[in-house]
């Protein structure tokens, strides 16, 4: 197991390097001019100097290696320094990946946006699990019952209807017609007392439910089929014939075994949910990481786009790894060597 983990970790490094190269090359070699949006009155030689100041004077491979160094060495060092309050080397001179449009370090921009995204994505994912697991369990236990048929139908609708449609329908119903919930997420809101907590709760309901229901639809299908696989196994019959109470059989024996594949699906789905949050953030105007990315794409802010996209890639590789390791840890029948 340990050797397998090390091997997987070592394999993740070249994967990430190749992905970083693809992302960098794609953005760098594409026909786009960072000074194209500046006023036309700026003379040509000033434009050249602006390009030089943006770090475009070096050849492609040097820029790629510099970007890698900044992202993989300098930024982690900065994070360590901030976290423990220590200083490693001359941290003033350390180059950082800077946004072309704001000239601020990209990592700081992301750090400012991350709490909003994390709270919405995190809460919605927990809501999704809380909805999906009971529905999946009951659906499987009472297979072909009315509950199962309705549950299957609703989950089919849940993952067929795109989030941008459920989101706008929610806004139409709850903000426009009923006027209960705000349609725009206010990130300046600070939770200090009960009133502001209620306001925060109210503005989180819609984005969390939109993302949560979409994920719950997928998870409940997995949960149901995994339960069905386990319910027909012999150990269930053994447990029942020992005279164990039905809740114990279902909730302890079967549920624990059926959770094994579901847990890995949950881990695998998390990065996708992060990327999917781009759309939810756009609907409810949450200024999270997704909106940073959209803004950077529209403003041709290449360093920000490269960094955010690469962070998404890191998340995917990381959670793939976690899912694989979890699978091996939770299920002792699986041997990797």
């Amino acid at each position: 197991m340990f050797r397998y983990a090390i091997r997987r970790l070592l394999f993740a490094i070249p994967t990430l390097l190749v992905i970083s190269f693809i992302i960098f090359a794609l953005l760098d070699l594409a026909p786009s001019d960072p000074t194209a949006q500046l006023p036309l009155t700026i003379p040509e030689e000033v434009r050249e100097m602006i390009k030089l100041s943006l770090g475009l004077g070096e050849p492609f491979h040097i820029r790629y290696l510099k970007w890698l160094e900044q992202f993989l060495v300098n930024e982690p060092l900065n994070l360590i320094e901030q976290f423990w309050g220590i200083e490693i080397g001359n941290s003033e001179d350390r180059l950082r990946v800077r946004s072309w449009s704001t000239r601020a370090p990209v990592v700081d921009l992301i750090a400012a946006r991350l709490p909003q995204t994390l709270s919405v994505v995190g809460v919605s994912y927990i809501v999704a699990i809380l909805i999906a697991v009971p529905i999946g369990v009951i659906s499987a236990y009472k297979q072909y019952s009315i509950f199962d048929q309705i549950g299957t139908f609703v989950s089919m609708i849940g993952f067929s209807v795109p989030t941008f449609f459920t989101g706008t329908v929610f806004i139409v119903i709850f903000s426009v017609i009923l006027g209960w919930l705000p349609s725009i997420y206010d990130t300046t809101l600070e939770v200090r007392d009960l009133d502001s907590f209620v306001a925060q709760f109210k503005q989180m309901i819609m984005p969390v439910m939109v993302l949560g229901l979409f994920n719950a639809a997928q998870l409940s299908r997995f949960m149901r089929s995994s339960m069905l696989d386990n319910l027909n196994q012999e150990y269930v019959r053994t447990a029942r014939s020992k005279g164990m109470a039905e809740p114990v059989v279902i909730l302890i024996h079967v549920l624990r075994n059926s959770m094994i594949p579901v847990v890995t699906v949950i881990a695998l789905g998390l990065p996708t949910t992060f990327a999917g949050a781009i759309i939810t953030e756009q609907i409810f105007r949450i200024n999270g990481v997704g909106q940073l990315l959209i803004g950077a794409i529209e403003g041709a802010d290449i360093p920000t786009v490269q960094t955010v996209t690469f962070i998404f890639a890191v998340l995917i590789v990381l959670f793939n790894l976690i899912a694989d390791l979890l699978y091996g840890m939770l299920d002792p029948r699986i041997r990797y060597d």
Binding site: I19, P31, I157, F159, V161, E298, V305, F312, I316
Partner: protein, 311 residues
Amino acid sequence: MTDSVQGRVLAAEAEEVELRHRSLWLDVWHQFRSHKGAMAGVGVFAFIVLAVLLGPYIHDIDPQYLDYRAKNQGMSLAHPMGTDNLGRDMFAQVLAGGRTSLAVGVTAMALSLSLGTLVGVIAGFFARLDGVLMRLTDLFLALPILPLLLVIIMLFRDTLRSLFGPEIGIFILIVFVIGITSWMQTARIVRGEVLAIKEREFVLAARSIGTRSYRMIFRHIFPNVLSPIMVSATLGVAAAIITESALSFLGLGFPSDFPTWGRLLFDGVPFLNINPARVIWPGLAISLTVLSVNYIGDGLRDALDPRIRGR
């Protein structure tokens, strides 16, 4: 007396034999018909396709015709889905948008399916290429698809527009990017099937009479992996339609004057307060299409699975 009983038994047996001698596809069809959701899906999907293809001939208002006096109207006989803020007829726009959305869905699916099948068959059949191709598949699976799609479209939109014109250019770009970022699942499934089929006796028999590789693939392997490919195809159409409308919804898909359902929805969002119907109709069209296609896929999967069929 005994003769007639025997005769009846024989007749019954003959009937049973007759029943057993149905063709594979008839069998699949019988199983498929018993899946109510799938049949409903076929009905709804056929209705949407027919409406989108034939609708513009019956409801023949030009979707781009501006009529400022009739802007932001509700449902009426002249405008069954109302009008938008420029007085364009929403029903005509939804029909026109549906043509583009469905065309994108089908074309992107065809591209991703051919890529996936090609990679899967080659990886499964030629052991030497297996490692390289599967690593490539893993690599693609690790790419953050939605951000990359947005980036590619932003970067190459103008270039392709100037090369092929505004409408065809964006169509080619979107179909291409969706196609090359969604073939991985098909490739994995097909490879698995090919690996299993390769070990079967009929392949050994074919090999032992000296069948060439390409004939082997087209004559023996390919027909046997057709069922997972068909299931992938239906699910691929749904996924492509969703992806395209998500891109259009983020403002990086089709332009307003060449709308798809996603773009119509995106254009309707600022007018939610005045005219919510502008969002509801295109959204409903996307959802119904995807739902029906997903049900068809579900039914196909059950019908093509020999372990479920005939039960």
